[in-house]
């Protein structure tokens, strides 16, 4: 029968299959907030499953120097994290550090091949310059990095103190760049770009940072004993030990001020104070850094500002004034104004100014500069007013974060590539739809509150003595539990086949989070910004109209079953037992690892991302494949989702009824749940295997009796 109807039917099925292979997940807020747009949700999920090596791969693919970010990133992702609405955000940066340490990042080798002839010069070896070099090498260009100091790293080397970024970490990344064939010229200050072009470079990336401290413009600023923050940190970081005396004051409220104060403390200053003209709320420094500084005994004086400095008897006498906050200014922060007649005097041995920094671009570069002496560029192409000269990083933006600089470096590399290949630069912003919107109160209420687990840090007493890294690493279990808190924004369920939906309301009724609703037209809606991706409605939908947004989530149980079918056919161990095990709890924390090793049967594990995703049909399929027994092991009380255990048991009962009708013993199907009080799943499984072994023997005897 070759009717047009048949072709239509075939077409329709094909289209359905095609639809299923498309990734329809939305970009989560963390990824949208990350300057590098790293796939945070994906690697956090992999950590939650204990798949650390894969997590590392995801991290490496989105970030040229993840180990650096793992220490110093200001994590805008955590500020955007929607878990903030529930309790606290996921500790993304600390999880990344865990993945890098336990995934063996230090062993990763980088390689690159030269496929292009055009040489590119990079002026400045800060994060932007190094990232640009990295990606240019990946694209196949010969790249040379010029650095005025004796060592690479820019602010990473001379700005950030060692207790925040151990130099070993930086050296490892630099080492990798050398391996990739990046030419490095230290102690080389570039004074003219023309010279670079004469030397045969076809494009130049200017990324000279913002190293020039701003002046306070007050009387006595030139006195000996007054030093600017950037210079101070540079000297310390390059190995000098400036003598500070006993009492040190730092002026400013940013990260540089905090870094300078904590560095001064570690150099032996007895009392370190920070003078900040606004209050704690307006402080631009990272909250955790401020907290740690306070713990270390640094005295932060809010609403105080110096107005005059004089030097008397080898000491600094600083006249200060108290401030009050007025109306918000252009930056949105409340403007401080001095209180009349509130002047007072203080004595210090050293005063460090850290009220901001600006780039210092040599005039000979011939690039146009703008506000705050920053280099002016086109924001899409990163081109300056000179042909072939690109710029990025702090030199363009003014002082910003390491991750911003890395993103600028990556963008520069692809723009330089466009330029050298005479391509029209495409706007990279076009991409996946972002997820926005707050969680609804009724959904919020149902999400289990589990507080954020912070990684351990050195006690304040131990920190003050030296420059050792303050933050330690999670242990395995803490990291997995922290990662499991992720709400998996934007990868939840959707009604992909609206034509199949019979509006039976099953999804609306089974959802533990009250997400699906009936709209005014009588159509079921599953709002993508509310779904918690537990998968219960997917497994329960009688029309199979609902699927998860990621193709992997849709297929992987079937694929694992197919894989077992192939592998188990080759093994002669009997009886065969197939277990669907929650990869989050049991696998991840290793409780399951011992399960099948000790068991007296050939046990095959299908790792599932939540036992509630195992459908009744999957259980039957396992029997069809010849399993003598099937079990489902959920993580029970540990589960981050609601009601999952209930649905596992519903389906188990349904399948057991069918088994009984077929003539198979219902106890061949079991659900195990790991509980915190007693009940070792390994022992339960052993008993289960033993029972099945007996059933198996009995059936063989029966067969022999028959024949």
């Amino acid at each position: 029968m070759d009717s047009p109807v048949t072709d239509d039917t075939q077409d329709y099925r094909d289209r359905q299959t095609m639809k299923l292979s498309v990734d329809r997940s939305l970009m989560p807020p963390c990824q949208a907030a990350c300057p590098l747009h790293m796939e945070i949700r994906e690697y956090v999920d992999l950590v939650a499953q204990g798949r650390i090596m894969e997590a590392l791969q995801v991290i490496r693919s989105g970030n040229p120097f993840p180990s650096i970010c793992a220490y110093v990133c200001t994590h805008p992702c955590e500020d955007a994290c929607r878990r903030c609405q529930v309790d606290n955000p996921i500790a993304i940066r600390a999880l990344k550090r865990f993945a890098l340490e336990f995934g063996g990042d230090r062993m990763v080798q980088s390689e690159a091949e030269t496929t292009h002839g055009e040489k590119v010069a990079i002026v400045g070896s800060g994060p932007a310059g190094l990232a640009c070099a990295y990606y240019l090498r990946k694209l196949g260009y010969p790249a040379t990095v010029f650095e005025a100091h004796s060592e690479l790293g820019g602010m990473l080397r001379v700005g950030i103190p060692q207790y925040r970024l151990p130099r070993k970490v930086l050296d490892t990344e630099v080492q990798r760049l050398t391996q990739m064939g990046v030419e490095i010229r230290t102690n080389t200050r570039v004074v003219s770009l023309d010279l670079l072009f004469e030397m045969g470079y076809k494009a130049v990336f200017v990324t000279i940072g913002a190293h020039q401290s701003l002046r306070m413009e007050i009387e006595g600023e030139e006195s000996p004993g007054v030093i600017d923050g950037a210079t101070f940190l540079r000297e310390v970081n390059l190995g000098l030990k400036p003598s500070l005396g006993k009492r040190v004051a730092v002026v400013g409220g940013g990260n540089v001020a905090i870094d300078a104060a904590r560095t001064a403390l570690r150099l032996g200053a007895h009392k370190v104070s920070i003078l900040y003209r606004r209050s704690r709320e307006e402080m631009p420094a990272d909250h955790a850094e401020v907290e740690q500084a306070l713990e270390e005994g640094i005295d932060i004086r809010f609403l105080e500002a110096p107005t005059r400095i004089s030097r008397e008897n080898g000491r600094l006498s600083v006249t200060c004034v108290r401030m009050e906050l007025g109306e918000p200014d252009a930056s949105g922060r409340r403007r401080p104004t001095p209180i009349k007649d509130s002047e007072f005097h203080k004595e210090f041995d050293t005063l460090i100014t850290a009220i901001g920094q600006a780039p210092q671009t040599p005039v000979d570069f011939g690039v146009r500069t703008g506000r705050g002496s920053t280099i002016q560029v086109d924001t899409v192409t990163l081109t300056t007013n000179r042909a072939g000269v690109f710029a990025g990083g702090d030199a363009v933006t003014g002082p910003a974060t390491v991750t911003d600089a890395l993103a600028a470096g990556r963008l520069a590399a692809s723009r330089i590539d466009d330029y050298l290949q005479h391509r029209y630069p495409l706007d990279s912003k076009a991409g996946r739809e972002s997820l926005t919107g707050d969680l609804q109160p009724e959904t919020l209420e149902m999400i289990r509150k589990t507080g954020r687990l912070e990684p351990p840090i050195l006690p304040p007493g131990a920190r003050r003595r030296d420059f050792k890294a303050v933050e330690l690493i999670y242990d395995w279990e803490a990291a997995i539990n922290e990662a499991r808190r992720c709400l998996r924004c934007g990868m939840g369920a959707e009604i992909l086949f609206q034509d199949k939906c019979a509006t039976c309301l099953t999804c609306l009724r089974v959802c533990p989070y009250h997400v699906p609703y009936l709209d005014a037209s009588g159509t079921i809606q599953i709002p993508d910004d509310q779904c918690q991706a537990c998968g219960i409605c997917v497994a329960e939908c009688p029309a199979k109209a609902i699927v998860l947004r990621k193709p992997y989530d849709r297929r992987h149980i079937d694929e694992e079953l197919d894989h077992i079918l192939k592998s188990a056919a080759q093994s002669n161990f009997k009886p065969l037992i197939i277990g669907f095990c929650c990869q989050y709890g049991l696998f991840g924390t290793g409780a399951l690892a011992g399960l099948w090793r000790g068991a007296k049967a050939s046990i095959w594990i299908v790792p599932v991302l939540c036992a509630a995703k195992v459908e009744a049909d999957h259980m039957l399929r396992a029997f069809e494949m010849g399993a003598e027994g099937v079990f489902i092991a959920g993580c029970g009380e540990q589960c981050a989702r609601e009601n999952t255990d209930f649905w596992v048991r519903q389906r188990v009962e349904k399948v057991r009824r069918i088994l009984a009708q077929i003539g198979l013993e219902p106890e061949r199907l079991q659900a195990f749940v790991s509980t915190t009080n007693g009940g070792d799943p390994a022992e339960e499984l052993d008993r289960f295997a033993e029972r099945l072994g007996n059933l198996y023997l009995a059936s063989i005897v029966m067969q022999e009796v028959k024949s």
């Binding site: 029968m1 009717s3 109807v5 048949t6 239509d8 039917t9 034509d499 199949k500 019979a502 509006t503 039976c504 309301l505 099953t506 009724r509 089974v510 939908c541 009688p542 029309a543 199979k544 459908e615 009744a616 049909d617 039957l620 399929r621 029997f623 069809e624 010849g626 255990d645 209930f646 048991r649 519903q650 188990v652 009962e653 349904k654 069918i658 088994l659 009708q661 077929i662 003539g663 198979l664 106890e667 079991q670 659900a671 749940v673 509980t675």
Partner: protein, 213 residues
């Protein structure tokens, strides 16, 4: 039932049977797997199964979409209601059709997985007089001038979990200030008493945390 036939097409229905979780695409796959397990278990079956789900079985136009799906099967196991089974039989005169579902009643879902009978399709509707509560389906005896003497605390003597339909009718008429409808006598009605299950539950009561061995 299927033993005489080698090639079996399991045919689902995408409308009512999907809504009441009896013959939608998921149930079709589930039955498909169950039949294959049963065949593997017995070890001597020679059936081959295929599956398909139509939007609706009870209209011939939808059945046309089956196309050559039925060209190479020996029978269709329909998970439609009785109407669906008959519609398939009518549309394909040469093809044996088997009922895969024993359709019991017309009802509504009170909550997930619990269905209550509401209508007997008797063609003699009295809902106007009984305040929108059907005594035919909801009273065990199906009496027209209730309640009988068996009502206790508003529950039926036949099933203590079931509300007495006539008590419900009385209370609702009272609310609507139409109690005069209770005082009327309703003459005999032409119906045969058919024993009905009244309720089908697909839900299992499980206590979470209890060992289910």
């Amino acid at each position: 039932m299927i033993s005489p036939y080698e090639r079996v097409l399991i045919l689902g229905c995408g409308t009512c049977m999907t809504v009441c979780d009896a013959g939608g695409e998921r149930e079709v796959s589930f039955l498909h797997s169950a039949l294959r397990v049963a065949q593997a278990k017995s070890g001597n079956g020679t059936h081959t199964f295929s599956e398909y789900t139509l939007k609706r079985q009870c209209d011939p136009e939808f059945l046309d979409a089956l196309g050559d799906k039925i060209a190479d099967v020996d029978t269709v196991l329909s998970l439609g209601c009785g109407i669906g089974v008959q519609a398939v039989a009518e549309r394909f005169p040469d093809l044996p059709v088997l009922p895969g579902v024993n359709t019991s009643f017309m009802g509504m879902a009170n909550e997930l997985g619990v269905w209550d009978e509401r209508c007997a399709a008797c063609g003699d509707c009295r809902l106007e007089e009984t305040a929108g509560i059907c005594p035919i389906t909801r009273c065990t005896k199906g009496i027209l001038n209730g309640p009988c003497a068996g009502t206790k605390n508003g529950k039926c003597e036949a099933n203590k979990d079931m509300d007495c339909a006539w008590v419900l009718i009385y209370k609702r008429l009272e609310r609507l200030k139409q109690l005069e409808k209770m005082r009327r006598y309703y003459p005999l009605r032409n119906f045969r008493a058919i024993p009905r299950p009244k309720r089908i539950t697909s839900k299992t009561s499980v206590d979470v945390g209890e060992d289910n061995a």
